[in-house]
């Protein structure tokens, strides 16, 4: 589904991703771990199409297309979803309106009829239960004045509504208490299907107790320095990253 080959990306003069290769197949869950500042969010943003990062070489193939050729909104319409590490506030625009706009843009791209606000209510109702969110949240402005936990849950709600093929969750677990963590993780698990895939970017092993990954990658200094199965996460939890980092800095 996703094939990243020798990807280099920079901001201005500064190279952040220094040759990433990663293949994700349908039905798989990949975890990307690594120390702060290693480039995890950058990778997530590059996949989503943030214009602030310049891809200097390498390629990303998604569903047989050249992903880097597509505008960010075209990627979203093609089923790529990024749950932001820091979700953005849009004052004055209700969550309900925003979500329906997004939902309809994606439907339009697939030549499906748009839903009016009444029809959309049914979609919403079902999805709200997935993340155990109250319907009153829909009338609040997008992320404005939300607590950290509410913002993260709102990202998962959006994911539930938009039903992406490839979801990238960027530290969706940070700042969540244990209940919220469980809700978010269960939400992600419920949305899992054989034809979609998830990349979970996380700092902590604890999320991976709930969302069990098929593959774990360690990103450091803009490179994937180690890949393994789910036991790698446990090893990292026990030993930290230092044992892996030394050869890189040498």
């Amino acid at each position: 589904m996703l094939k990243i080959t020798n990807l280099h990306a920079s901001v201005g003069e500064k190279e952040i991703l220094k040759g990433i290769s990663l293949t994700v197949n349908a039905g798989e869950v990949h975890a990307i771990m690594g120390p702060n500042g290693s480039g995890k969010s950058t990778l997530a943003q590059v996949i989503a199409g943030h214009p602030g990062y310049e891809v200097t070489s390498g390629s990303i193939e998604y569903d047989g297309q050249d992903l880097l050729e597509l505008e960010a909104e075209e990627r979203a319409q093609a089923g790529v979803f990024l749950a932001f590490q820091y979700p953005i506030e849009i004052p004055g625009v209700t969550n309900a309106y925003f979500l329906r706009a997004a939902y309809n843009e994606i439907r339009k791209a697939h030549n499906q009829p748009e839903l009016d606000p009444i029809e959309f209510l049914d979609v919403m109702e079902e999805k709200l239960t997935v993340v155990e969110m109250d319907a009153s949240m829909m009338q609040r402005s997008v992320n404005a004045g939300f607590s950290g936990g509410e913002k993260k849950r709102n990202e998962i709600l959006q994911m539930a509504v938009l039903e992406p093929k490839l979801a990238v969750l960027d530290e969706t677990d940070s700042g969540l208490d244990i209940d919220a963590l469980r809700i978010v993780a269960e939400g992600v698990n419920k949305l899992k299907r054989p034809d979609n895939a998830t990349i979970v970017v996380t700092h902590y092993q604890r999320l991976l107790n709930y969302i069990v990954p098929d593959h774990v990658h360690v990103l450091a200094g803009g490179r994937i320095i180690k890949s393994g199965g789910k036991e790698l996460a446990l090893e990292l939890e026990a030993k930290g990253y230092d044992w892996l980092l030394e050869p890189v800095t040498a």
Binding site: A48, G49, H50, P51, G52, E71, A72, E73, R75, A76, Q77, F81, L82, F84, P87, I88, E89, I90, P91, G92, V93, T94, A96, Y97, F98, R100, A101, A102, E105, I106, A109, P117, Q139, S141, Q158, L162
Partner: protein, 477 residues
Amino acid sequence: MTASIETLVNKEYQYGFVTEVDTDTIPPGLTEETVRLISKKKEEPEWLLEWRLKAFRRWQTMTEPRWPNVTYEPIDYQAHTYYSAPKSVKPLQSLDEVDPELLKTYEKLGISLTEQKRLAGVAVDAIFDSVSVGTTMKSELAKAGVIFCSFGEAVREHPELVQKFLGSVVPYSDNFFAALNSAVFSDGSFVYVPKGVTCPLELSTYFRINAANAGQFERTLIVADEGASVSYLEGCTAPKRDEHQLHAAVVEIVALDRATVKYSTVQNWYAGDSEGKGGIYNFVTKRGKAFTDAKISWTQVETGSAITWKYPSVILQGDNSVGEFYSVAVVNGKQQADTGTKMIHIGRNTRSTIISKGISAGQGQNSYRGQVKVLPKAAGARNYTQCDSMLIGNQCGAHTFPYIEVANNSATLEHEASTSKIGEDQIFYCKARGLNAEHAISLIVAGFCKEVFKELPMEFALEAQQLLGISLEGSVG
């Protein structure tokens, strides 16, 4: 991001066409003779000519205000034309007599003056250059006793009302542009709603500047008698021309005891090109006087004009009177706006609310200038001011000039202000959810303007939506 903002901002001005009509246009220049000529062409009574002449003499002693935060080449008042009328417009018996070219102009603007296609529930007065070309739905209004006609007709048919209220809120000596208007005003709309009557229709005036080098100086007078209520809408467009054109209007509102007047404007005069060539200079005085328990509410969406100088204000004369000002002002290209309001609290327990949303894009400069004045007798007066600015891009500016004078210590004033930037991050967030950049900007701007848009009557909310390329549905509740 910048590319998409530019497409939004540089959308072609749709109303820039010129109508070919024969006009009766007087030569440029402004002297006492010009004033007499205008008055004569309009067959006005002596008292009105005298009033104009007093205004003209006063104007000659005044100087253009220099305090607004705008810059422009000096205006040569002798180079302008002060009267231009389509020849075909004579006092009309019915709309059937309106020149088809003019009807077509209004159809193109989306304003139908013909009987069949009119917006249900809205009566329209159309002002083309200096004169009214027709007022619709007159008979329906007459049944309710409401007078809605051109200013010229009001002078002929209801001179006692005009004489009683003309200049009672904005005296001819008020300011440079009001004095100029008082001397040379050509037409405009007049509204009178009798005691206890709720006007059954929305009233709407559509202003159109067509002639080159001609200024538009309309004058609107709205009187709501005791316990009456009315909602009035105003829209404006002008052709694209390379020269700047002058628009100096005056609007006066009188809300007698317990009356309510809601005045909404969607101003979309030609703004000039991206280099700042052409565009309307919009110098407008709008003010209402609210008597006991009366309420005056101004809502404006200002998107056009090269320069906007405009402060719709309320004199809260009577006890418990209420004044409101809701404003969205958008500048882009080289546009400059200096706009805001004045709330003058005279009566006891008077209340005012000011919500101002300034959006600056391109190299536009947007200034909010607002005065809240509480006089000694205004015990218990309250004001709430919220003044928000949004910047799109790096070359524009937003400025705030609040003036507060309080002479009664039982008054309560609250002021909130914010400046935000449409960030690349906000746009990217929307894009990452499948919205294109233009849709994203519309949505973010609509959210920003929500509190103002919800004050607009439906018909105008739609026009405002088109103007800003904004989808309002649902996001404005």
